[in-house]
């Protein structure tokens, strides 16, 4: 269970990024976070993994107050959350394989597991042939898929995906969305941030709409009508 308890985020005292955001996400749920750019989607995800600190409010993951965890032990909760960043955040001096393997190495996984899982997950995202390429040798869409592979590989409880299809052509976009749906079917909570109307309407799952940092609608099987 994810619980945002009256969370607000202000920049420079008067710029509001998020305002009194409260919602719950049940385990294994698929939630789409919608809003035009600047509505606060990315901020919300950043607060969840403590890349940024909320100005007010608390955030919980399965009863643990994420916003109260000491920085030194933050990695425990981060390993339970797989994040696909909008700007990919790949390590430029590591190959696609190493980028994915790093997340497993950092999470103290066994070598045998790493050697088995990394190629599998890279094949799953369709990058079997480019495992030894460095990020600057990959296209935007390919980088995005490495980022997805890295987010998946530790079998997290929650996947956060921030505009994971922004740089993909329509065919690849659907590939990614289907992949996320499949992961969700296998029991992982997914929070997907997007402003792509078509994606939202096709997924046909719960939709939370943000506008100027506030939740203006939260519907099961929502459509993006705005």
């Amino acid at each position: 269970m994810i619980f945002f308890d009256d969370v607000s985020k202000f920049y420079n005292h008067n710029t509001v990024a998020l305002k009194n955001v409260t919602f719950r996400v049940r385990p294994k749920e698929f939630v789409t976070l919608v809003g035009s750019s600047g509505a606060g989607k990315t901020t919300l995800l950043k607060l969840f993994i403590r890349e940024e600190e909320p100005s007010e409010g608390r955030i919980f993951l399965d009863g643990i107050e994420v916003t109260a965890i000491n920085r030194k032990t933050l990695h425990h909760v981060r390993r339970r959350i797989g994040t696909v960043f909008q700007d990919y955040k790949l390590l430029p001096s590591m190959t696609a394989y190493e980028n994915v393997a790093f997340a497993m190495e950092a999470a103290d996984r066994y070598d045998a597991e790493i050697e088995e899982d990394v190629p599998q997950v890279l094949e799953l995202v369709g990058l079997k042939d480019k495992t030894q390429n460095f990020p600057n040798q990959l296209s935007g869409g390919e980088k995005q898929r490495v980022a997805i592979a890295r987010a998946l590989v530790n079998r997290p409880d929650v996947i956060l995906a921030d505009e994971p299809a922004a740089n993909l052509d329509p065919i690849n976009t659907w590939g990614i969305i289907k992949l996320l749906q499949k992961i969700n079917d296998l029991g992982t909570t997914v929070i997907l941030a997007t402003h792509d109307k078509e994606i939202i309407n096709t997924i046909d799952k719960r939709v939370i709409v943000l506008e100027k940092g506030e939740i203006i609608s939260d519907q099961e099987k929502g459509k993006y009508l705005v």
């Binding site: 920085r71 981060r78 390590l91 001096s93 790093f102 997340a103 950092a106 890295r150």
Partner: protein, 303 residues
């Protein structure tokens, strides 16, 4: 997961990052090598200055002249007593005959002096003791001792004539020693700052990667580790490069320095102190690399 596996991964990632950020690593090593080079030269300069100062010191002594009719055994008795003093490092006895021989040798080109000596027939020179102190500032105490004893056979002690010069030299030398050490310390401090800033800059360019590693769930030590490994590699390579450069450099500089100060052989000094030098370079290099990395990375880990 065992500590051994984690350690192996840290080393692997550190080495990969070092190798793949080739230009950054090369630039950092170059600056570190330069810093070690400066530090090494400070050590050489210290040794050189020491030799020069010791050279000066060895030229200072005081002489005790005895009356012309002083019996040799009495003179030798004074010599023994002076030798008992803690401040005295060496006492040389010059007999009347030796003094004459030295005088003749010194003025053998001057016929007039030789003739004058022939004319005199007798040996006009006095026996003397040349006293060398452990430290130039001790001469006053030694002279005081001789004065107090008031030996009847002592004609004069030349310290009192040269007192001003000896004191002056003594104070100059202690000033050179003190300010030299201070200057060396200051230069070493600057060099260390430069090394620290270079490593800091290298880590600054990698700060985003540090943040990414944190966000995908790495512990602070798992991220810090590879950077410390990188710091060690910087230090080791820079030290090795510096030592390699010092071989031909000291060898080439030695003849020129020997012209300046005869008993200073830089290459010999380098070779005979190689173990210490090796240790200083490597320890300083590795310490600079790791400590700088450790300090520089701290703030970027706070994510």
């Amino acid at each position: 997961m065992s500590k051994k596996v984690t350690f192996r991964r840290v080393i692997k990632i550190g080495y990969l990052s070092f190798r793949r950020n080739g230009w950054l690593s090369t630039a950092t090593i170059l600056v570190m090598a330069l810093v070690l080079f400066v530090l090494g030269n400070l050590v050489f300069l210290g040794a050189f200055a020491n030799t020069v100062l010791n050279n000066f010191e060895s030229k200072i002594d005081i002489s005790v002249y005895f009356t012309g009719d002083a019996p040799e055994e009495n003179v030798l008795q004074v010599k023994r007593e002076v030798e008992q003093l803690a401040d005295v490092s060496e006492v040389a006895y010059v007999s009347k005959d030796e003094a004459l021989a030295l005088f003749r040798e010194k003025h053998k080109a001057n016929a007039l002096i030789a003739d004058a000596l022939e004319e005199l027939g007798d040996n006009p020179l006095a026996a003397s003791l040349n006293i060398r102190a452990r430290d130039p500032s001790n001469y006053a105490a030694i002279s005081d001792f001789l004065l107090q004893k008031n030996y009847p056979i002592v004609d004069k002690v030349n310290y009192f004539e040269n007192q001003a010069v000896i004191d002056r030299l003594s104070s100059i030398m202690s000033t050179v020693r003190g300010s030299g050490a201070l200057l060396a310390l200051f230069l070493a401090f600057v060099a260390v700052l430069v090394a620290f800033n270079t490593v800091r800059l290298a880590i600054y360019t990698l700060r985003e990667e540090i943040g990414i590693m944190r966000l995908v769930g790495a512990t602070q030590w798992f991220i810090r580790g590879p950077f410390l490994i990188g710091g060690i590699i910087y230090g080791v390579i820079a030290a090795a490069a510096t030592i390699l450069i010092f071989f031909p450099l000291t060898w080439l500089a030695t003849p020129k320095l020997t012209l300046l100060v005869q008993d200073f052989n830089l290459f010999q000094y380098f070779i005979s102190n190689f173990a210490e030098f090796f240790a200083i370079m490597f320890l300083t290099g590795v310490a600079l690399g790791t400590i700088s990395s450790f300090i520089a990375i701290r703030r970027y880990l706070e994510i």
